[in-house]
């Protein structure tokens, strides 16, 4: 089917593409900067000012130093565990909660909702949480970074909003066929909400991937440290700032500056790859198809 493209639409297109390209150029820069800096020669990088258009010199020392760290392999393994099981737990609980909260005619929903939102504002702080985690026996296990963070309230609300947008008619017809709520949730609602599920996977995965703080508090065993905690230690021990105190400074600063960037690359590139993969769930008109079918 061909439609006439009016002048207005054409101008709109041109402006739109121009804007997009501008945005891409502007937002690509920080990543390129980190990339180039990570391959640069540390001394030259320190002496450099202004734009960075290519690596200054070429050196893999920083990457060697990061990847040779004994904790990296273990860190990757632990993070993979946390990511897989954590996101699974997150999705299961969040979708169940979101489903219930998106139903109309459930008397307690308003109360539930307030109970849940209230926790976005008030918390007891680190120590009481630590004692609870200790009490339920999760201390010093990888599950201590999963179970206490099983639901993110923010994500729960987003998912609920998405579920509320699904027409009731679908659910009604399923009910007539004798389906129970579990069937409706997992067979109808979730397949219809793949775009938002993809977003949830992304949000939760990024959260799990970047998380280090609670692991540092709940986990003492170094064999259970997640990747980010290992990387953070590398970063801290190599920061040029911390080395300039006192009379002690070695020549580690030779790579101190670039190591920061190499660490960021190692820490972010794997998670950056998640999104392009999830994008294939962003398909238009899922709802329409199922309505007709």
């Amino acid at each position: 089917m061909k439609t006439e493209i009016g002048w207005g639409d054409r101008i709109f297109n041109v402006i739109n593409y121009a804007l997009m390209i501008f945005l891409v150029v502007v937002t690509l820069y920080p990543l390129l900067y980190v990339l180039f800096a990570s391959f640069s020669d540390s001394a030259r990088l320190l002496g450099h000012k202004g734009f960075l258009w290519r690596p200054l010199g070429f050196s893999l020392e920083a990457y060697k130093s990061v990847l040779n760290n004994p904790g990296i392999g273990i860190g990757f393994r632990n993070t993979a565990f946390i990511l897989v099981f954590g996101v699974a737990v997150n999705l299961l609980l969040t979708s169940m909660g979101a489903y219930v909260l998106s139903r109309k005619n459930v008397m307690w929903n308003k109360v539930f909702m307030f109970i849940i939102v209230f926790t976005m504002f008030f918390s007891g702080g680190l120590i009481p949480l630590y004692l609870v985690v200790k009490g339920v026996g999760l201390l010093d296990t990888l599950w201590s970074t999963i179970v206490p963070f099983a639901v993110s309230t923010f994500n729960l609300i987003i998912m609920r909003t998405a579920f509320m947008g699904i027409p009731d008619s679908l659910e009604e017809s399923a009910k007539i066929d004798g389906a129970n709520h579990f069937t409706i949730l997992f067979r109808i609602i979730i397949p219809l909400s793949m775009p938002v599920i993809a977003v949830m996977i992304l949000y939760y995965a990024v959260d799990k991937w970047n998380g280090w703080f609670y692991a540092s508090v709940f986990i003492k065993d170094r064999d259970l440290f997640p990747l980010q905690l290992v990387l953070r230690e590398i970063l801290i021990s190599n920061s040029t700032d911390s080395m300039s105190s006192g009379a002690s400074a070695g020549d580690r600063f030779q790579i101190g500056e670039t190591i920061k960037y190499a660490t960021i690359m190692v820490a972010t590139v794997p998670i950056l790859c998640v999104y392009p993969f999830l994008q294939r769930f962003f398909v238009k008109g899922v709802m329409v198809g199922s309505l007709k079918g």
């Binding site: 120590i127 440290f225 230690e233 080395m243 002690s248 020549d251």
Partner: protein, 541 residues
């Protein structure tokens, strides 16, 4: 062979004793016999005999993070257990998280036997409170009975003894002591010697000479930012130690003069300092981006030759910049300049000078300790003759060799085959490159500073009256500490703002007096009162 080593050791110790303390040479003999001067104390022969395993909580030094994953893998800690005869079980918090981990450990109630921690800087309410709250032991009796080496050291150094006690006279930890002034001075003005030579200028000593020099750097060397210093989080951070500002008789914080505690920014000299830097900024002698100059910006300015003078450390400053700047300009040489004064020949009033007692790296014994006496005897090792060598230089034959009575680090440390930096390699075998429960030895630093300019720097910078004017490390009482913090938080914000605004010319220099009035209204007098009381308590320790 063993005898020769032992003899060498004694000679070495005599050397260090002569350098380090005033009370004379017979101490070496005493310790060699294993007797203790107090008489009551048990003679300590290491290794101790025990079946008990003690638990020990402490950071792994930043030098070794990423090199070794735990204490057990670090040769020093393996040997430490061997030498003292006490097996240890170590727990280390993740790097950079020790405060949180510490807090959580206290809350959970599982206390190890020993804790290595900064009880002054990082414990709310300070060591006195830590004892009062029933968390670490008051060690006075235990040290009397079981720690002859530490006791002897403290008796011989009453000034240090004063520092390691609390106001009420309690010992609370095994201290880290910088055994020589040489280890306590490491910062001061740094300048491009090659530029000076080229321009036929002397190393500047007075403020006027500095102005001339910076002007010449700008006009003749084309320096875009002749003088630049790290100004994050506040303008000229290091002014806290008194560089330049000291020429006007004040510093950035509290100091003592004629028996009174004074706050530098509220004293008249501060206005002179503001005026000077205002004029310098206006003339373009200071970095145009001074308010945002962080470490990286200053490094970059120095490396690229935009900056010819700054204030920095011997290790982390000169040691870092020299190779950077030489990479761009092979002739470049950075040297130390003395702390500036107003009139030629004056002795600088202020300069960087750390306390002999550093509160980091100290080890306390907890109330949960199974056998406090054993823990104390074990910790005392670091202050014995043998322990002194071990903590500073590691194992003879492995990490150092004796050359004419001088412990020389081996190539295993200084030119490490695994390409570890000396600071890292030293930390594997000894603790002199960071801290711990022992007395740090000057001979470590002499070898650690690779460049002659670094070694000279320390000698140039130590020529100040800082010891006279600096406050010792005094602490407000727990009751006053929160009031003090509230007042000083507001005042510091005000001073930081005033300083940079006047220097950049956002506000005229004449505004200075009105700021002083504001400081007073924020409770400056009360803060001075609290500090004065704390000083009195300190002096009467």
């Amino acid at each position: 062979m063993k005898k020769i080593a032992a003899a060498g050791l004694i000679i070495a110790m005599l050397g260090s004793v002569l350098a380090g303390c005033s009370s004379g040479g017979k101490s070496g003999e005493d310790a060699a016999k294993g007797a203790s001067p107090g008489g009551a104390a048990e003679s300590a022969t290491y290794p101790l005999k025990t079946d008990e395993k003690l638990s020990y909580w402490g950071d792994i030094t930043g030098n070794l993070v990423g090199v070794k994953a735990s204490h057990d893998e670090i040769p020093f800690f393996q040997k430490w257990q061997e030498k003292t005869g006490v097996p240890l079980e170590f727990t280390a918090p993740p790097a950079g998280q020790s405060k949180e981990a510490f807090n959580v450990m206290l809350a959970s109630g599982d206390l190890p036997d020993m804790i290595e921690y900064n009880f002054i800087g990082d414990f709310p309410g300070g060591p006195e409170k830590a004892i009062k709250d029933g968390y670490i032991l008051k060690l006075n009796d235990l040290i009397d009975k079981y720690a002859p080496n530490l006791k002897k050291y403290l008796q011989e150094h009453p000034d240090i003894d004063k520092m390691v006690k609390t106001d009420s006279g309690s010992y609370y930890a095994f201290p880290f002591i910088r055994g020589d002034e040489y280890l306590r001075v490491f910062q001061g003005p740094v300048i491009r010697k090659d530029w000076l030579d080229e321009l036929g200028l002397p190393v500047p000593e007075t403020i006027d000479e500095w102005t001339t020099t910076l002007r010449a750097f700008k006009e003749k060397k084309g320096a875009a930012a002749p003088f630049s210093v790290v100004s994050k989080p506040r303008f000229f951070n290091e002014s806290g130690n008194g560089a330049f500002i000291g020429a006007f008789g004040v510093n950035r914080g509290f100091y003592q003069e004629d028996g009174k505690v004074k706050f530098g920014p509220a004293e008249p000299g501060f206005k002179g300092y503001l005026q000077l830097f205002h004029d310098w900024y206006k003339e373009g002698l200071i970095d145009k981006n001074i308010a945002t100059a962080d470490t990286k910006a200053v490094d970059s300015n120095i490396a690229s030759g935009a900056t010819g003078a700054t204030v920095g450390n011997a290790g982390g400053g000169i040691g870092k910049w020299q190779p950077l700047v030489a990479a761009n300009d092979p002739k470049a040489v950075l040297v130390a300049a003395p702390y500036p004064v107003l009139n030629k020949g004056d002795k600088p009033k202020f300069g960087q000078l750390n306390q002999a007692y550093a509160s980091e790296g100290t080890v306390g014994v907890t109330t949960g300790a199974k056998d406090p006496a054993l823990a104390v005897r074990m910790l005392d090792y670091g202050y014995s003759e043998e322990g002194h060598m071990f903590f500073n230089f590691g194992e003879e034959g492995v990490s150092y060799t004796m050359e004419n009575g001088y412990p020389k680090f081996t190539d295993l440390l200084m030119k490490n085959p695994d390409k570890l930096a000396p600071a890292q390699a030293i930390s594997l075998y000894a603790r002199s490159s960071y801290n711990g429960p022992f007395v740090q030895d000057k001979r470590y630093a002499e070898q650690f500073f690779a460049l002659q300019t670094q070694r000279d720097a320390v000698e140039i910078w130590r020529n100040t009256d800082a010891a006279k004017y600096n406050l010792p490390s005094i602490t407000p009482t727990p009751e006053e500490s929160s009031e003090y913090a509230t007042i000083m938080n507001d005042i510091n914000t005000l001073v930081d703002e005033m300083t940079i605004k006047i220097i950049l010319g956002t506000e005229p220099v004449d505004q200075y007096e009105s700021y002083v009035a504001k400081m007073k209204s924020l409770g400056l007098d009360r803060a001075i009162e609290i500090q004065t009381a704390a000083l009195q308590r300190y002096n009467s320790r």
